[in-house]
């Protein structure tokens, strides 16, 4: 079942710890990188406890490696389960990718071939993870730079089928859809329209870098207009879904990040409650500065 929307959040990054703890924010919720808080003590753990006392949080991992052909890492799952028990997140998410093989980790989000074999493999592992954690998880589409010749279905069909067969949620990264659409030449709207309406638990919004021959998912820029436009399309299709702005490098001050989140809120309101929200559809608000 799709969880109720948490509203509009941002990724909690250490550069903003002091600001977030020292004064109220206009942020509804925070997403934290699970691996950064799987510690025995120290400041990250202390900060997480304080943030959790004030806001809903979502645990977002980068090393589950759900698509790897290595066995699932049980000690990692144990730590994730313990972190989830301690923090009671609204949900736990990770990426539809593999992070390593042969016992090694790339610390990257590596793409899968979209085949029936990979589908069965991932679904089986999602079942194991959900059983281990005692809760459903959400999986996020990643930005990709390669297309496997063996792929037999488009990415959105692969993602939707995993959600359908395993019961997991979808964390729909709108920026990743846009980046991949440019890198592979597909219509990003077809991706959004190919995802079942009731499976999407969360959106991600972020910026990327134009490297000339391709777009790189860098999270070091404001959310660009094409991604806002795709977000608006997603809101039209999926309704009120928890939306989160990610910004990891060249971080601005917290207030600038907050503005990005408020812009997402305004766009959602403009679509779902146009009578009260004013003109805030990104197309209607072309050229308008973020609120």
């Amino acid at each position: 079942m799709r969880p109720a929307s948490l509203g509009h959040g941002v990724g909690l990054r250490r550069e903003h710890f002091e600001r977030v703890l020292s004064a109220p924010t206009r942020i509804d919720w925070f997403e934290v990188i699970s691996e950064n808080f799987m510690a025995d003590g120290g400041r990250p753990v202390d900060v997480l406890d304080q943030v959790r006392a004030r806001y809903p949080i979502v645990l977002h991992g980068v090393s589950l490696s759900i698509g790897s052909t290595d066995p699932l890492n049980k000690p990692y799952l144990d730590r994730l389960a313990a972190l989830a028990r301690r923090t009671e997140p609204a949900w736990v998410s990770d990426h539809l990718c593999w992070a390593g093989v042969g016992g090694h980790y790339a610390h990257d989000l590596l793409p899968l071939p979209y085949t029936e074999e990979a589908l069965r493999h991932v679904v089986g592992r999602v079942d194991q993870v959900q059983e281990h954690l005692g809760r459903p998880i959400a999986l996020e589409n990643v930005s990709s730079y390669v297309t496997f010749r063996q792929s037999s279905m488009p990415e959105w069909e692969f993602l939707a089928e995993i959600a359908r067969r395993s019961g997991c949620g979808i964390l729909l990264d709108v920026n990743n859809i846009y980046v991949s659409s440019r890198n592979h030449g597909f219509d990003p709207r077809a991706y959004v329209e190919g995802i079942p309406k009731d499976c999407v638990w969360q959106f991600h919004l972020a910026g990327h870098a134009d490297k000339g021959k391709y777009l790189l998912d860098t999270h070091d820029h404001p959310v660009p207009d094409p991604v806002w436009e795709l977000y608006a399309l997603a809101v039209e299709r999926f309704g009120a879904v928890s939306a989160l702005v990610e910004w990891d490098d060249r971080l601005p001050d917290f207030e600038r990040l907050e503005q990005e989140s408020l812009r997402a809120r305004q766009i959602e309101a403009g679509i779902l409650h146009p009578a009260t929200a004013g003109a805030s559809h990104p197309k209607a608000a072309a050229g308008e500065a973020a609120p």
């Binding site: 025995d40 052909t69 990257d108 989000l109 390669v146 010749r149």
Partner: protein
């Protein structure tokens, strides 16, 4: 069923190519030479186009792989990176990652074997003090998120009767280590920090005094995993291969061997280190094994008058309590 699955073969080839030190295409050539892949294996796996051929597409992952891990190691070993210079650090990390690719889901552990690796590496053999510097830096990074514990305070001690005080168990907080080094790494650490603060034009050899000094970490030690895994890369470099530059590399630091004991600990959220004299080092060793206040007092009484022993005990206890180094509860 026999043999690896298609998915398994795909992931293995993908992995071998993105972690090849010289980049994807030379990596494939090496696999072909070894009989582990066919010449057309890359194009059979990845669909390229005129804009971005298959090898260039995979090189995006190869660059992200190496530079992300390089950034992580630089974050855990900032002084080592300064000491050896950018290119040497790049090449050291290349060699390290080939021998010790990450085997843990968290980047936090990536650099844990660098000190021992450096000891056998040409850079470490040329400049032994760098190995001890690396040991110090890793210990600092390692303690950053060690378990918390309430530290013993003067008030805790004041509440004890004199009889009970002798039996007081003394143990260090979990975020404590005693290092036994062959060089004065704290001095080198301090000199490098000063060099960083002064900017790149300042000559490397500082005139810092020898002896002990508490050194403070800035918040931020410890590599963080990130959701975004794309990295800005330096286009002048090839994947994770060695770099060679016409500019002369900075001279490696030289230090005579000098046995140095260093206590490293975290108080609240800041990691400190301090070189200690032999007597304190011996007491700290006693502490890590588990001791009592009475036993520490007994150790200090050897060769001292009672008045001097009492004074020494007071000095040691005060220093440890002020540093937040003693735990209230045994671990």
């Amino acid at each position: 069923m026999s043999g690896p699955s298609t998915l398994s073969r795909t992931e293995s080839l993908f992995w071998d190519l993105i972690t090849a030190p010289e980049g994807v295409r030379p990596g494939l050539d090496a696999l072909v030479r070894d009989g582990r892949a066919a010449q057309g294996a890359l194009e059979e796996m990845i669909a390229g186009d005129d804009r971005l051929p298959a090898a260039e597409r995979l090189d995006i992952y190869a660059n992200m792989y190496f530079f992300r891990l390089l950034d992580c190691l630089r974050e855990d070993y900032p002084r080592l990176a300064t000491a050896v210079g950018e290119d040497r650090f790049h090449n050291l990390c290349t060699d390290y990652l080939l021998t010790h690719p990450s085997g843990h889901p968290s980047l936090r552990y990536l650099g844990r074997r660098l000190p021992e690796f450096l000891a056998g590496h040409v850079v470490g053999r040329e400049s032994g003090c760098l190995v001890d510097l690396a040991r110090l830096e890793w210990t600092r990074a390692d303690l950053f998120d060690a378990a918390d514990a309430r530290a013993l305070t003067r008030e805790d001690l004041a509440r004890l009767s004199q009889e009970a005080a002798g039996d007081l168990p003394l143990r260090p907080v979990p975020a404590f280590r005693l290092l036994r080094l062959d060089h004065d790494a704290p001095r080198l650490w301090r000199e490098l920090r000063d060099r960083e603060a002064a900017g790149p034009e300042t000559p490397g050899e500082g005139g810092a005094a020898t002896g002990t000094e508490t050194a403070e970490a800035t918040w931020g030690a410890g590599a963080a995993n990130a959701a975004r895994l794309g990295e800005e890369t330096d286009g002048a470099r090839c994947a994770s291969g060695h770099v060679h530059d016409d500019r002369p590399a900075p001279p490696l630091p030289r230090q005579r061997r000098r046995k140095t004991a260093v206590r490293v600990w975290r108080r609240e959220f800041t990691v400190y280190h301090r070189a200690v004299e032999d007597e304190e080092a011996a007491l700290l060793e006693l502490l890590t094994e588990g001791t009592t206040l009475g036993q520490v007092a007994q150790r200090l009484s050897a060769g001292r008058s009672q008045a001097k022993a009492t004074e020494a005990l007071g000095r040691v206890l005060q220093a440890w309590i002020d540093a937040g180094l003693l735990a209230v509860e045994p671990r």
